[in-house]
Symmetry: C2
Subunit: 357 residues, 2 copies
């Protein structure tokens, strides 16, 4: 929990699907070229038994810790991951891949479709959670990793790990599911629907072929992000951090910055995937997950009104009904869903203790 | 609380400001022509002492009760207002004006600016709550009404009545403030900021001169309404009414219908006014309101996360600190802020009992 953190790190890339070894998607699509951006921290042990997979959330990327040249600008989970930190890189070999369907180095809607030579755009196939997990698995094969000591993920990151527990029992020995859900509510879906409408109704969306026209649906993407940000922070957190006077300019700043770093097609693809995620709808899922006998730690935050404690409790209840004992902690934090990226008292300590078992 | 309701009603119009008797606005602007759309129900007593003013919310209109020809399509507060109902038209003379800055018959940004002969659009002056009240007062003068037996308003409607209590003590003898607030939170303002960004970034907004171009910023206005609707209903209410599967199409339906009946400029003007509303910032305000010795009933709903019980409690605390005794009831209702338009158990009964004192 101390130390100055990782130093310079670099993002690497691996090709995990080729025409000879395509990725066949759950929904029926096929991707003949999949490249994954990822970072690793720490050293793989000779026994290859010290791997921690970090799965990021909707708009995250592979750059979880350390820096890319400017020590003042560090990865999004830098205070969790590093020498002596909760995810201790003196002990663990940490792998953080950018997710499939994203736009930060891993294949997604803004990537070139090898069949046409132009960006996939609206032709990018529908993804399911299992497809994201399949890419993680291929990356670990590429790295020569079998069993995973632990997976740690927040929000959509936790959902990917949950999917993996049921899909390949035993491979993931431990999972830390932070502010995750196994099923979006109508309200969750409603906010995503508004964000998608903002994007697709932007005239620069051009039916999804904006890249070919040299434009981006920046107006819609900005509105989508401004809205999403409001749902990530609690009302009290907004009041404390930005206040009545500061909130509007803050949201504009957030929205403008997002447009520069994120792709509208990825936003559509990933929010639709989130809408559909409902693994416990299949009664076999929980049984399979329990059969792998993983250790599971669910963490939720009391002010999270997006995927709050009731969502984690739902995951716990489903897994426990299948015979697995799950640890669940609600952490007091005023910052809403965003708490998973911050450090409310007790949170990192829980993760550290769980990984050190 | 029984009866078949009012029959056919009509919307009337009154001119309450002219070049000879202009409306000088709180913020310094001047309107030389103000027309008000309003409806009345019941009969004014010979003593002119049975007036109930109904003040509507952000997107409401003068058509609160009865019907305009199709008995199946009734005013927005028809189950509250009518013969034998909580606002009993056998006893009271009910006046419901459309608010200044709106677009449903009362002067607002979509009205013609007499100085230019074209729609005001972005030139429509900034409004404050006192300006809306000033138009109410002029309408009542036009109708020959002095003291008002009671005002009843939900959300922005309640805020107009609160403003009036402090502005002209004694004129409004009773006020029912339903799901109102005296100060928006950062979160409240944030959602309005997103809605405004959606509207003003729509290319058809044309810097506010859309009417001159024969277009409307329909895409932005639709997104604004979809978003607002999510904040009007509780998460549980969305789940019950629309469910995970129905929410997206429901929001699209709501958004499309709104574009047909509401003006983007009015949305901007009125949400900015709401952002600024903060009457208790002036210590004299509460004292003035208390000096009028009005009877005040504040009603909030337990699932309202827009202007919930803490907002009503804030109003009550400020008025009571100034020496006024205020009645406040929290009503159990699963429908969030929208509850003020619905009929959760106990709500209409409270209003009826209060008005009959």
């Amino acid at each position: 929990m101390s130390g100055s953190g990782l130093g310079l790190v670099t993002t690497r890339h691996a090709v995990v699907a080729t025409p000879q070894h395509p990725l066949r998607l759950v929904g029926g699509g096929v991707l003949e070229h999949v490249e994954v951006a990822y970072e690793t921290y720490g050293e793989l042990s000779p026994a290859r038994d010290n791997v921690v997979l970090v799965a990021h959330a909707l708009t995250g990327d592979a750059h979880a810790a350390g820096h890319h040249g400017d020590p003042a600008r560090r990865g999004w989970w830098d205070d969790l991951i590093g020498p002596g930190r909760a995810v201790d890189t003196d002990r663990f070999f940490v792998v953080c891949p950018n997710l499939l369907g994203g736009c930060r180095g891993t294949t997604g809607p803004s990537s070139t479709d090898p069949a046409t030579g132009r960006a996939y755009g609206p032709d990018f196939p529908d993804l399911e959670m299992g497809d994201l997990v399949a890419v993680h698995r291929r990356l670990l094969e590429h790295l020569g990793v079998g069993t995973v000591h632990a997976g740690v993920g927040g929000s959509l990151g936790g959902m990917q790990l949950l999917q993996w527990l049921g899909e390949e029992p035993g491979r993931l020995r431990r999972a830390v599911l932070v502010a995750a859900t196994a099923r979006l509510t109508a309200e969750n879906r409603g906010f995503s629907a508004v964000a998608r409408e903002a994007i697709t109704s932007d005239p620069d969306y051009r039916g999804g072929r904006y890249a070919e026209h040299g434009v981006v649906p920046a107006r819609g993407l900005k509105v989508a992000r401004m809205l999403a940000h409001l749902t990530y922070v609690s009302a009290a957190g907004l009041e404390t951090k930005y206040g009545r006077e500061g909130i509007e300019s803050y949201l504009h700043h957030q929205g403008d910055a997002f447009v520069r770093r994120f792709d509208a097609g990825s936003y559509l693809t990933l929010t639709r995937l989130l809408d559909r995620f409902d693994p416990f709808a299949d009664p076999a899922f929980a049984k399979a997950a329990a059969a792998g006998e993983p250790e599971v730690l669910a963490i939720s935050f009391d002010s999270d009104w997006r995927f709050g404690t009731d969502h984690s409790a739902h995951i716990v209840a489903e897994l426990e009904a299948a015979g697995l004992v799950v640890e669940h902690h609600e952490i007091a934090s005023p910052w809403g869903h965003d708490s998973f990226l911050l450090r409310p008292p007790g949170y990192h300590e829980l993760v550290a203790a769980f990984l050190q078992r």
